[in-house]
């Protein structure tokens, strides 16, 4: 189970039985639109507030994931979910409808992998047979909480990122066919003293590097063990910094080998500045795009390192720096094990 200092190896190989990704209108114009199960043409998702819309996105992704996993709703024992809104209301309200035993998680944008790691841990330790996990974010709802009003004409710097409107969910099961979760590394809170909330990538990069190195050290493997190492939402700046930092520490990764969900989701001509972010970002890219590619056989071993910036609007105003975290989960499919 525990391998090294902070890595779990799952000997019972929990399986990702079914996943779903739901997106908004801006994601529909993006690079990976085909990998979504649903795309909403309207940010409101037919609701009367953006927060309700986010709840609906998450609910839809949960229901679709259960459907695709081929299980019944009653079979799901626990749901582990979280988002970026105060008191996790979108996740909680969605779980009110879903009616499953629920554990709320907060790891900012790293919540998706925090949830997947814990779900795998539960299933591996026979604490559950089926666990549902997921994460969501909504551009307008999250910007409202963390930044200026969406229609405010302030100029964002080139380091700013665009919050993804979307939700991704996965059903983790003890038996079945599908990609297997082989290990997970829990991140430390890393704070390099950066204070600019418009440069989250730069703040989060050291956390990602820390977790990747810890994962490789704990499992005593080389980075080349994985066909793909993908970070959550570092964006252009954070991605470059993380790659150079790894290089400096003696882990050299090519652009093919090391990618970022925040850069995979949108087209280059979309006005997202440094790339996508938000707790839905890694969830939709991993549970939609990347697992689809994995099932097609494009790669067999993948390490997902979801990164989160653990700031609040209040801590920023009180001139606190931005603590960050990253959780890593390794997923393998068709490896013959």
């Amino acid at each position: 189970m525990l391998k090294g200092h902070r890595t779990w190896e799952f000997e019972n190989k929990p399986v990702i039985l079914g996943t779903a990704a739901v997106g908004g209108p801006f994601e529909a114009q993006g690079k990976i639109a085909d990998d979504f199960d649903f795309l909403h043409a309207d940010l409101w998702a037919e609701q009367d507030s953006y927060e309700k819309a986010q709840t609906v996105l998450f609910e839809e992704s949960c229901n679709k994931a259960i459907e695709k996993a081929g299980v019944r709703k009653e079979d799901i024992q626990f749901i582990l979910a979280g988002d970026l809104i105060n008191q996790l209301t979108p996740s909680t309200f969605a779980c009110r409808t879903l009616g499953m035993p629920y554990l709320g998680l907060f790891g900012a944008c790293s919540t998706s992998m925090e949830g997947l790691a814990l779900s795998a841990f539960l299933v591996n330790g026979k604490g559950a047979k089926y666990v549902l996990t997921g994460s969501s974010s909504h551009n307008a709802a999250n910007e409202k909480q963390f930044r200026y009003p969406t229609e405010y004409g302030g100029q964002k710097p080139p380091t700013a990122q665009w919050t993804v409107t979307g939700a991704g969910s996965a059903v983790v099961a003890s038996v079945g066919e599908g990609p297997q979760i082989t290990s997970a590394t829990i991140g430390r809170v890393v704070d390099m003293g950066l204070t600019d909330p418009f440069n989250m990538g730069g703040a989060m990069a050291p956390a990602a590097v820390d977790t990747i190195e810890a994962h490789l050290r704990d499992r005593q493997i080389d980075a080349s063990y994985y066909d793909l190492i993908v970070t959550g939402d570092l964006g252009r700046i954070g991605y470059t910094v993380a790659r150079d930092l790894l290089e400096k520490h003696g882990v050299s990764l090519s652009e093919q080998h090391f990618q970022d969900c925040g850069l995979l989701i949108y087209k280059d001509d979309q006005p997202v500045l440094a790339g996508g972010s938000g707790s839905g970002c890694s969830a939709v890219v991993v549970y939609g795009h990347l697992l689809n590619r994995m099932k097609k056989g494009e790669f067999k071993k993948m390490l997902v390192v979801a990164t989160g910036a653990l700031l609040s609007p209040l801590s920023f105003q009180q001139k606190e720096s931005i603590p960050c975290i990253a959780h890593a989960v390794s997923i393998e499919y068709g490896g013959g094990s």
Binding site: D48, S49, Y50, E51, K144, Y148, P149, T150, E151, Y152, G153, G154, Q155, K156, P157, P158, T159, D191, M192, G193, L194, N199, G202, A205, P206, R236, I237, T240, V241, D244, L245, K248, P271, A274
Partner: protein
């Protein structure tokens, strides 16, 4: 200043921040200034047209045309905010569209739109001036200070 800020950081943090800032995309300050200059100037040009319009077609003097001109400009910026255009202009123009009175209108209306879902009293009313409020507060206060200084100098200083 920068040194003072850095003193609190550990050597590792300082080293990383240097490493990070070398890779950070910088704001294109000069380009932004040029854009701000032209867009801001263009907004003022429109203002001048409106002002002349009021003087020419209505019974306004150069002095009294100021108020309806400002009102018209704010109305236009509110309309553009509601249509979702002003934030795009803002991303392009930066200070060019933020500094003129249109930016002020935008900051008020964008906050109203944002918080409409929390109702008229706590939402729209409570958040309307969350961006513009401090501008009004410190604007009025600094006007008061300047006026006081002026009064003291003229009344008692005999200038």
């Amino acid at each position: 200043m920068a040194n003072k800020k850095n003193k609190k950081l550990t050597p590792v943090q300082q080293e990383y921040q240097k490493f990070q800032s070398e890779r950070e995309a910088k704001r294109p300050v000069f380009k932004n200034c040029v854009k701000a200059f032209f867009v801001g100037g263009f907004i003022c040009l429109i203002g001048q047209f409106i002002s002349s319009f009021y003087i020419y077609f209505f019974d306004f003097t150069e002095r009294s045309a100021g108020n309806p001109t400002v009102a018209t400009l704010i109305f236009i910026s509110m309309l553009l905010t509601g249509l979702g255009v002003y934030d795009r202009i803002g991303q392009f123009a930066g200070a060019g569209s933020a500094v003129p009175v249109t930016g002020f209108g935008n900051s008020v209306v964008s906050a109203c739109i944002e918080h409409r879902t929390e109702g008229f009293v706590l939402g729209v009313g409570g958040n309307m001036f969350k961006l513009a409020g401090s501008v009004i507060l410190f604007g009025v206060f600094s006007a008061f200070v300047i006026a006081t200084v002026k009064t003291i100098l003229i009344q008692w200083g005999g200038l």
